[in-house]
Amino acid sequence: MNPKALTASENLIEFRDVFFSVHRGATGEIISGVSLAVPQGETLVLLGRSGSGKTTLLKLINGLLAPTRGEVLVQQRRTTDWNLIQLRRSIGYVIQDTGLFPHFTVAENVGLIPMLEKWENTRIAARVEELLQLVGLEPTEFAKRLPRELSGGQRQRVGVARALAVNPPILLMDEPFAALDPVTRTELKSEFSALARRLNKTIVFVTHDLREALYLASRIILLETGHIVASGSPQAFMQIDHPEVRAFAASLAVHPGA
């Protein structure tokens, strides 16, 4: 692991020997002794199979889950010490199913948190327009639509815009592009990667797709049954000699029909 990354002052997110299990006790741990630090501006990709604990790690960051043991720090403060509402409003969250509010228009979805933060209406409207343009949706065409009137890719764009609404320093993304068709996925991936660089957010991105991880990450962490088994920059990662890394590398190989 990069030793520089462990100097506390610049880490936006830090895990210190974190354990998590649904039922307190030694058995059935979903996360076992994870320590990691995410410096400002990094795009960290958590890679792993289903059930490896990637999503659980994300939820430990925004306090949807609390560690059974150890501590998670966000902006140098333990998540258990944060006011959870404030913590979550400083963290954008994008999930595969988008979770858009079906009874709100696109503009209302994006403007919800600014509204709850009691921004003025004109400021909200301006912010919504800015964000929709940022994610490539023409405001005049899309602002008044309901989520069900959008394609999967458009919905996910709205999801990203909504997560960015109050300009949070941290963005958590849980397989945001996994449910999209391959063409749309590739488009969104490259647009998002450009957007992420421009906005200089600290991003933790969960995926089971090594290709996506290599494309987006400044660092990849590989999880297996709740443990970190490998960590490194995309180039370094592929050189790591670990069975799980090789298993993922094998998934890159072209298979017949693909």
């Binding site: 925004n62 949807l64 959870l84 509402i85 404030q86 913590l87 979550r88 409003r89 963290i91 969250y93 999930i95 199913d97 988008t98 979770g99 858009l100 509010f101 079906p102 009874h103 919800l112 948190i113 709850l116 309901l146 069900r148 909504r162 958590l172």
Partner: protein
């Protein structure tokens, strides 16, 4: 005498009874909604109390309606002969479908939507009022619709304890073996039920978010 001429001759009484009937139903439904919907909201996160409340409402509905009217008569303040007792009984009867649909609607929300709402930093109250409630509205209305139709029917029995309404004709018709009287009560009651069903069904479709 044909039924038609009977209706024309007694249109004043029939209309008055229909209005009285409607009054019983509307007041009882208003009470049931004002109790059932807030109670459903209150019980979303309270599993133990919810089991008890739904249990009580279910038991109330298993009591035969005529018996429920009878049980209430001796109770002070709400009891006695007349409209008040009937309205309380009708409201108790309507409670279960409203409460159950409110609860089912509020808890049957797409988990991804609830997870996003929580992760975005909405408080429990904000999630309840801005996400759960609007998304449950069509469901709640379906409960109100069911309850209204039941209440329109059951309210005919309220005549047995002197509450008036269309049941008056029906009870008289049974006693005198008169088809005209029976139908003078039954037809307007059926029309009311159909009308309520159409109206509330229309509202429900307008509110549904799929």
């Amino acid at each position: 005498m044909s039924i038609w001429t009977f209706f024309v001759q007694h249109r004043g009484e029939i209309l008055a009874a229909t209005f009285e009937h409607l009054q019983l139903v509307v007041i009882a439904m208003a009470m049931a909604i004002l109790i059932g919907v807030p109670l459903g909201l209150f019980l979303v996160h309270r599993k133990f109390l919810r089991t008890i409340a739904l249990g009580i409402a279910s038991i109330l509905q298993t009591i035969p309606s005529l018996a429920l009217f009878g049980f209430l008569i001796p109770i002070p303040f709400i009891g006695g002969i007349g409209k008040r007792t009937a309205i309380v009984a009708l409201a108790l009867y309507a409670l279960l479908p409203i409460l159950r649909n409110t609860y089912v609607g509020l808890t049957g929300i797409d988990p991804a939507v609830l997870e996003s709402a929580e992760a975005m930093g909405m408080t429990n109250t904000q999630i309840l009022l801005r996400v759960r409630f609007p998304l449950a509205l069509a469901f709640i209305l379906a409960g109100i619709r069911t309850a209204t139709i039941i209440t329109i029917g059951v309210a005919t029995i309220a005549a047995a304890i002197g509450a008036g309404g269309l049941g008056t004709f029906i009870f008289r018709g049974v006693a005198l073996v008169s088809d005209e009287l029976l139908l003078a009560g039954a037809i307007p009651a059926a029309l009311l039920a159909i009308l309520a069903d159409l109206l509330l069904g229309f509202l429900e479709r307008r509110l549904r978010v799929s």
